[in-house]
Symmetry: C2
Subunit: 241 residues, 2 copies
């Protein structure tokens, strides 16, 4: 385990991204804003179906469960101009957000055809969001060639071919923890530059690769903490009151 650096700490450094400005497009949308844009989209789609054509920042804030100032600042990042005194045009805003997020349909591949991988391959939200799952990949030869909920399962040795054939750009890792690093390495070797990791393991990637993590057990543990604190609080609170 190589350790670099003479004085002081310094760990992983996130690669810069989205800082282009040259061609006028793509400003650097902050992470925090990015996580909310899809939520706004859902709210907008909802009201659009009811025939609403204009929303104020406050209405959208209510739909998204945030406050209005945040909505406005978020939207200002994509240059989406609403009309003062009026609000935002629903359809225009939908187009703008969708465009900022990438717009077109992007196929994804899932590595790991266990419980989680299968469930994810069936998850409607991916397809609905423009991310069809086009391949499942597993190291188990006995699954090779099978279809699972309409998605063909391929052996991990053919990953390169599958990725190339399907034109996938996003990879999802749903393997056990011990297999996660290899899964990611192979995805990267196959040319992918964006990976979503569901395995409860820390994996490292080259700096040009975007890695996001969804840690299911951790989410519960955080809730567990608050529950724990709340209960201790009540206990002491009773004593006091």
């Amino acid at each position: 385990m190589a350790i670099a650096g003479t004085t002081s700490d310094r760990g992983q450094s996130l690669g810069e991204i989205g800082v282009v400005r040259s061609d006028g497009s793509s400003s650097p949308i902050p992470e925090a804003t990015l996580t909310r844009l899809p939520v706004y989209m859902r709210g907008l789609v909802e009201v659009a179906e009811d025939g609403v054509t204009t929303v104020s920042s406050r209405q959208l804030a209510d739909l998204a469960g945030v406050n209005a100032a945040k909505v406005r600042k978020d939207l200002s990042h994509l240059g989406a101009h609403g009309k003062r005194g009026v609000g935002y045009d629903v359809n225009r805003l939908l187009t703008e957000i969708s465009g900022a997020l990438g717009g077109s349909v992007t196929p994804v591949v899932i590595v790991g055809a266990g419980n989680l991988g299968r469930a994810l391959s069936r998850y409607d939200g991916f397809m609905a969001g423009g991310f069809p799952v086009v391949a499942l990949i597993d190291s188990d030869r006995s699954l090779e060639g099978r279809m699972i909920s309409g998605v063909p399962v391929t052996h991990v040795d053919e990953m390169d071919a599958v990725v190339a054939a399907t034109g996938c750009q996003l990879g999802i890792v749903a393997t056990p923890a011990h297999a996660a690093q290899e899964a990611v390495d192979r995805l990267v070797a196959a040319g992918l530059r964006s990976v979503l990791n569901f395995a409860p393991a820390v994996v490292s990637v080259p700096s040009e690769v975007q890695l996001r993590k969804v840690d299911l057990a951790t989410e519960l543990q955080i809730l567990g903490y608050y529950e724990h604190v709340r209960i201790s609080q009540e206990a002491t609170g009773q004593a006091v009151g």
Copy 2:
């Protein structure tokens, strides 16, 4: 849709929690730190199995994929005192973190026995993390009484009884979006105060309830954004270079 406030914005306000100090215990561990504690735990368990008894902040940082200063600051929040010049005792640290996070085993209930709900009920990580799934709840009468991967399915009308009988304190919502609000409402009515929502919907809860959200489609959309930016960047970069 009631809108309050005369001047200016102001939306949801997060309930304060963990700010007790009266009894000396439970300092207010910041969110950001909370999300990393479980990751440290995994790293510690890993090295503990290899017989390691002491780790430095830098070693732990490598295991967790963060930098050493962050590790030290995080650990300082739980008063975990390491030894200068030496490091942290692995077992002691495990005990401390585990204790801070709540310690004991907490049973959870999952609402929604669809694909996602079933997959989550089978997810090993929950059990391993001390969160056994003890009940699945669905509105489909035809599932009532069945066992799915060892977990009994109950109808939603009996939620109160199930929650009471099993002593659940954490609820997971894995319903379709349109059913999420009702699912949460029922969980809260049954007495739960901590909910993890997987449904792609904005739900509101009373201020004393802790709500966390895992938004699978959004995660992909964020990756999609970076992919999008990267590609435009390359395109313009080629033109320039």
